[in-house]
Symmetry: C2
Subunit: 395 residues, 2 copies
């Protein structure tokens, strides 16, 4: 199983450094055999963790050799000490690997406002480096988990001018997720060769179809980071529009697959909902409605209750600030229509919809029947476990 997560020219590792109280893996490392072009997307939250501030600076250089990352502590709101600690993490990795310090990036995730236990990291870096391997992706993906229940890695192959290449990504999410740029930690590797500026534009486009269209609880974190690294060891080179399209669609696929995996593994999530709003006057209108419905606690708790409670969907649609005719609206769960012309289709339709809602993944369609604007968003149910997880998280 593990070899399917290889990305040629990259090694990874994950170990337990004792940052998490429960003794689980909490320190990860990704290393590229060759200097890799790099691009990043970061949280738009005004409050930004030290590693985010540092990475923003270093990504501007365009070259990355390694990413060191810890879970269990966000290294955020720690003042100047936070930046010293973030720098120390990259220095430890750079020294151990023999690469330039300013080509090492860093990410942290976990509790905000607790000092980073740098000594534990210092003690564990030699072991971390010693355990680097091409097969280490899952270990690293495990080390970045917080309330995630499974490590999430996706890999895809493509071809550029006859030369095969790979894109592999790992993600952690679970909470503090909403459709803003780069809402989680995500590290994507490819053995194709591409320029940093191209990577950045490509990543932005992919993010707008994936990370920026997903919500778990509507909160954004102070640490959100997406990095993409391209080391070119495959010999496949992105050159010209056709190659760019090939690369873009493979990256889209990886980002969307990671996003779906992340929402599926969201805190307390039982049901992944692909929310499709169609028939709006404009795509903007459709997105606004999708955003409102996707975040509605009443809709999300009804989905948890596996109740095709379309009245709540009507209510949330109606408060999105978008003009529409409530008497034209249709609502479907998968292909079961529960509302047509703004009125319920009866108990029989609702019973069939309730059966659809037993599935782990459902498609909820809101058709305004007004125009041709549309939007897709990924959301999920809002469960008792979500509340329990987040009420107990620090204790």
């Amino acid at each position: 199983m593990a070899e399917k997560y290889i990305c040629p020219g990259f090694k990874a590792a994950g170990v337990a450094a004792g940052i998490k109280k429960n003794g689980k893996k909490d320190l990860g490392l990704i290393v590229s055999d060759a200097p890799a072009a790099v691009a990043g997307l970061f949280t738009r939250n005004i409050v930004q963790a030290a590693p985010v501030v540092l990475d923003r600076q270093r990504v501007a250089g365009g070259i990355c050799r390694a990413v060191i990352v810890n879970s269990g502590n966000a290294n955020c709101c720690n003042g100047e000490q936070g930046m010293r600690d973030a720098l120390a993490m990259t220095a430890l990795a750079a020294e151990g690997l023999g690469v330039p310090e300013d080509q090492v990036l860093v990410a942290s995730t976990g509790v905000i406002g607790a000092p980073l236990p740098v000594e534990k990291i210092r003690e564990s870096v030699p072991m971390l480096i010693a355990s680097l391997s091409a097969e280490g992706m899952l270990d690293c993906a495990t080390a970045i988990m917080t309330t995630d229940t499974v490590p999430k890695v996706v890999t895809r192959q493509g071809e550029l001018d006859g030369k095969p290449f790979t894109v592999t990504g790992m993600i952690k999410g679970a909470g503090m997720i909403r459709p803003d740029m780069a809402t989680m930690l995500c590290f994507i590797m490819t053995d194709a060769k591409a320029e940093p500026e191209f990577l950045k534009q490509t990543l932005l486009r992919s993010a707008n179809l994936s990370f920026n269209r997903a919500t778990i609880d509507g909160d954004t974190s102070t640490n959100d980071t997406v990095l993409v690294m391209a080391n070119g060891v495959s010999g496949a080179v992105v050159r010209g529009a056709e190659d760019e399209n090939v690369f873009q669609s493979l990256l889209d696929d990886v980002c969307l697959s990671l996003t779906r995996a992340m929402v599926r593994d969201g805190e307390g999530v039982n049901t992944l909902v692909e929310l499709r709003v169609v028939g709006a006057f404009s795509n903007e209108d459709a997105l606004r409605i999708a955003d409102t419905v996707a975040h509605s606690p009443l809709v999300k708790t009804a989905i948890f209750g596996r109740d095709a409670n379309w009245g709540r969907i009507m209510g949330a649609t109606g408060r999105a600030g978008v003009d529409f005719d409530p008497e034209k609206i249709a609502i479907l769960f998968d292909d079961v229509k529960v509302v047509e012309g703004g009125r319920g289709c009866g108990a029989d339709a609702e019973a069939r919809a309730a059966r659809v809602m037993q599935q782990p993944e459902i498609i909820l369609t809101i058709d305004l029947n007004m125009g041709s604007g549309s939007a897709v968003m990924l959301t999920c149910d809002f469960s008792v476990d979500y509340v329990k997880i987040n009420a107990d998280y620090r204790s």
Copy 2:
């Protein structure tokens, strides 16, 4: 106890008509002895229930004799039948009371999309009218409850030019509450005399300090209605600026007290949080931050966990779309400072804050230390019971 909820010149009643499956009171009536000036505020949701549509028209006439209201069914998304049923409710009340039909208002609350059982209402109206009394306020307040756990009535006395007058209000809330105009059912009576236009302006100002500053779950309903009726039987008349101020402040008091009672009795609520954002560049900035923090599921679940998790408050503040310096921020629970200059005040402060959070009502202050803009909002914790209530509501 009951007489403290009297408003001279008004009678009320509440009975069980069998609309609710559990046999509880579900049909209420408020009657004014004399024609009352009336003003109303209604939901801004695009999807509006039939009674809301009808009341908007009738309130424009400025005179009201009675309000008939049911719980257990929202009479929303029922097409033309919905309007016929809303009209039927007012006709039944008008006929029984011998008052003009177009001076009778109507409100409904409950499940969306189920036909209103008008026959049950028809059978119960005679009993409803027979049980009208000055002491019936609590019965009526009970009949409008949905997931509310207690009836909520507030009464206050004032004086206009030496003449005493009373303002009495009842409210139901519990779910689908956010800071938009008129987010619940609320009926306010006064025996003072005032013009409909003055009532409307006064109600708007009071709402902006109370109903529009409260959130339980961020959803608005299709049925939100606030009515204020002034029948003048006390002989106290609002005349001139000084009287207007007296009346306004009494109405403010009633509206804010009702709002606090409503949030306190919100679905699954354990903690009422008065959220104060101060030190912002502008009141608008402060309100935007208050709105974001007040709706953050991560903040609200932390409050449920009685955890002074200020990192989440920082995170929510930072995503409000408002510019500020994270290194100037201070956060307090009551008078316990947990963050100063953007950094935590240590375990000791957090332990004291955790004790504050055991209280049923707390004040959470976010001080940006930038300017003099401020805003206050009422919010609450997000509990396991909220999810359970809303997952099970229809079943």
